[in-house]
Structure formats: C-alpha cells, structure tokens
Amino acid sequence: MLIRRSTDILPSEITTESQYNSRRDWLKAAGAMGLIAGLPALSARDAQAQAGKLAGVKPNAAYGLPDGEKLNKFDELKNYCNFYEFGTDKTDPPANAKSLKTRPWTVAVEGEVLKPKVFDIDELFKLAPLEERIYRFRCVEAWSMVVPWVGFPLSALINAVQPKGNAKFVEFVTLADKAQMPGLRAGVLDWPYTEGLRMDEAMHPLTLLTLGAFGEALPNQNGAPIRMTIPWKYGFKGGKSIVKIRFVEKEPRTAWVKAGPSEYGFYSNVNPTVDHARWTQATERRLGEFGKRKSLMFNGYTDQVASMYTGMDLKKFF
C-alpha cells in the first residue's frame, strides 16, 4: 500500500539545475577543505528523510512553482521559525520543539456547526486527498520563503461539519501545554495562541489545512501535526499545532491583535502599501537572497482573493 509510483514524485523532490550546481559547488568547496569525510553521514540522513515521506501526496498543478520563483530549502523552513511557544528566537523552536508529542492528537471542531466532532489526527490525514501546493510565505517581519506545503483545502473540513447560518468566523486555538512548550513560561502572548478567519476566507480554495511540507509530515517546529497556511496573509495568521477549530458569530480576538492592536489587525493581508507601525512592509528579504524584493499585494494572490475585500478600506482593516 505504500508502494510509490513514479507519478508520486513531487516537484519539491526534484533537484533543479541550480540546486544541482550549488551542490556541486559545495562539494568542491567541501572537498577542498577536507570535509568530504563527513559525506556518508549526509547520505544516511537523506535515506532517513526519504523514509519520512508522506504517502499518496499528489502535486496540485494549479499551485506549482510560481514563475520566477525558486523553492527555499527544507532546512531554511526548519531552522528559521517563529513559534513563540518554544521561545522567541528563530532558532528556539528547532532546538526546543523536540519535546512536542504529536501522537495521540485530536482536533475538536465545535461551535456553530450541525455536526461538531473531535477528529483524531490520523482521521484528518484521510479526510481529503493530500496535495502538494507551492505557496509564497510572507512573514510580518518582512522576510519570506517559497514552500511546498502538503495538505488539503480547509473547506473540505468545513463542509464535513456543516456550519450553521450564523457561523461568520472560524477561530483556531492552538496547543498551550507548559510541560511540552518552554516558551509558555514567558508571558509574551496571551496563551493559548489563537487566530481567526472570516468564513469566506476560511472557505477560500487557497486556504490550506496543512499537514506537511517538502513531502514530509510537518516538523514539530513548523506546527506539527496540523497548522493553517493562508498564503495571502502574513505568516502569523497560520496558527500552529492546532487543537480546536471553533465556528463563531463574532470576529474572534486573536493573539497578536490582543498583544498589539495598533500593530496587528484581524485581517493582516500582505499589503506593501500599509506599513507595520514600526517598519516598512513595502519590501521583504527572501531567505537565501541578499537583495530585497518588492512585496506583492496580497503576496501575489490578488487575482484570487481581492474580490473578498472590495469596498473595504484596507488601511483601516489592516
């Protein structure tokens, strides 16, 4: 049942020419520096990574590598993260998230729905076909990556629980367990970390219930076992290690809005024309690049999402 067919090769697994060349450069440099002796260890790690691949993931051709973009490295995603429950430095989550237990794991879906249900995480993996989608990921701190996520549209889960007519917003509640998450001891945010979307945003086909990245299950530090990815919004909108999804009537007060209402809004759409209270959002640094890029309206997803915000003053509803 886990036999891999040739069609299962994901774009994220294919070595591009530039990656191939940069690896060759690296090998040359490493050889010159006498580091080549370490190579057997590296290939052992590659084999291990292969074993961690999720089965049955199909690339979704509609969300392939955008023109002019290059995938970031899995290591960049794994080693540069904001996950304050594990500490506020970018390198804290990779160092501290090993203590996170992702099985058993349940996600309670409740609130204004006809069929509330507590899902086991393994059940969620089978709720809809897993797809790989390559999205730009833009952090509110003005850095960005291009990541091949694995998951399925949140709408599949929403349809399964049948929201009532008065469900106007979806709230995501994430794990806050002091025993597993050393960062909770600092009162940096009002734990548990919560996020939210308007119903139409939650139902939007781009909104991805995310279970993996780079063909593997999510690394702990990136929000295992389940997180949200909303590619036209700043990264913090995607709650990590979600334990509860709640359908509500009123706009939920999210963790960052509570922490700094003048700096973080409920919508938090990527918008180069509306600066953060303290820094510019007009440009961003793509990890792996030295220059800065101009940030794109809605992170480059204007065609798909702009219609949801017609008539709204995006300077007011930032």
Partner: protein, 220 residues
Amino acid sequence: MAIHLNNFRSPSATFVQRVKWLLIVLGMMPLLRLIAGFPLGWLGANPIEFITRSTGTWTIVGIAVTLSITPLRKLLNWPWLIRLRRAAGLLAFFYASLHFTTYIWFDRFFDVDDIIKDIIKRPFITVGFAAFVLLIPLAATSKNSIIKKLGAKRWQRIHYLIYLIAILAVIHYWWLVKKDLTQPIIYAVVFAVLLGVRLIWKLRSVSSEKPPLVAKPPSD
C-alpha cells in the same frame, strides 16, 4: 584566594599593555565569528539579519564595558583600568559602524532618499541613528593629541555624551523588538546600574563638598 586583589592595584606597564591587547583581541572575536560563519553557514537562514543583530548587540555590550570601567576602577581601587577605556569605547564605535553599514548596505542598498525617509519615519531608526551620530565626536576625539588640544575639561564634557548614547541605544533596541522585551530589559537594567552609581557618587561628592573627580586623559 591565591591571587589577592591588592596585587593588581599598580601592575607594571607591560601587564596593562597586555591586558589591553587581550581586550582588543577578545573584542574582535564577534567579528571573526561573522566573517568565518558566513561561508560556513553558522549564521542561519537569514545571515544579514544575524549580522545586523550581532553587530548591534556587540555595540551595546561595548558601551556597557566602557561605562563599567570607572565604577570598577573605584570599587576595586584599580586606577589603571582607565587605560582600557579608550580601547573599549573604540570597539563599541567599531561595531556601531559595522551595524550602521549593514543597515545602509544590505537593508537600504545605499538608497539615500530611502534612508532619510526611514530615519524620519521610524522612531527606532531615528534614535539608533542619533546614537551613532553622537558616537562619532567621541571616537574622533580619542587621540591623545586631540585630548591635549581640547583640554581635559572640555574633552570630558564632550564625552558625557556617552550617557545619552547608552540610553538611546537601549531605546533603539526596546522599540525594534516585536514582543519579547527580555534582552532590552537586561541592557536597560545594566545601564541603569552603571549610570545610577555615577549619580549616587555625584550626589555624595556634592553633599560632602569635595571637588568632583575629573578623569585624566590616558597617558599612553
């Protein structure tokens, strides 16, 4: 204790010279780490950010070391420590220059309009820039010949600016962090202690009507 503090009251000139060089060598270590770390991948996924933060941190540390020399000198009764102060201060200025260069180069790419807008519009950049500009006259008046030309009193008056610079540097750090204020608070406490002891000493010397201590320019 095998070594008694008293042994360090008046060490030989060679000893002081060696300690000074040790301070300079240690002070270069953060830079060496950045230079070596860049090709070796020690600086993480966002090396520019790492360099910006590291040079900023070492600027503040350098200012703290510079400001701790006078209190240490008095507490330990080691007058020779004053001979390290200039090196410490210049190291702080060196890292401040690297910090500023990283910003104008890799953050703003020498776009002067952009930089001016940034300085006006972003309070944390305004105070950071002010702190850097104020450091320049201090670094520029560090040579013995200039100190002599200015006279100890006038030189001292210019160098009181370091107190303001320290405060601006902490505000700069405080305003730039996203949410976790732990680090800026640590430096704020350190500077509060370093400036606080000076204030206490000053008040005491005024109340006992002794003339205030005027630092002599270093003689080397």
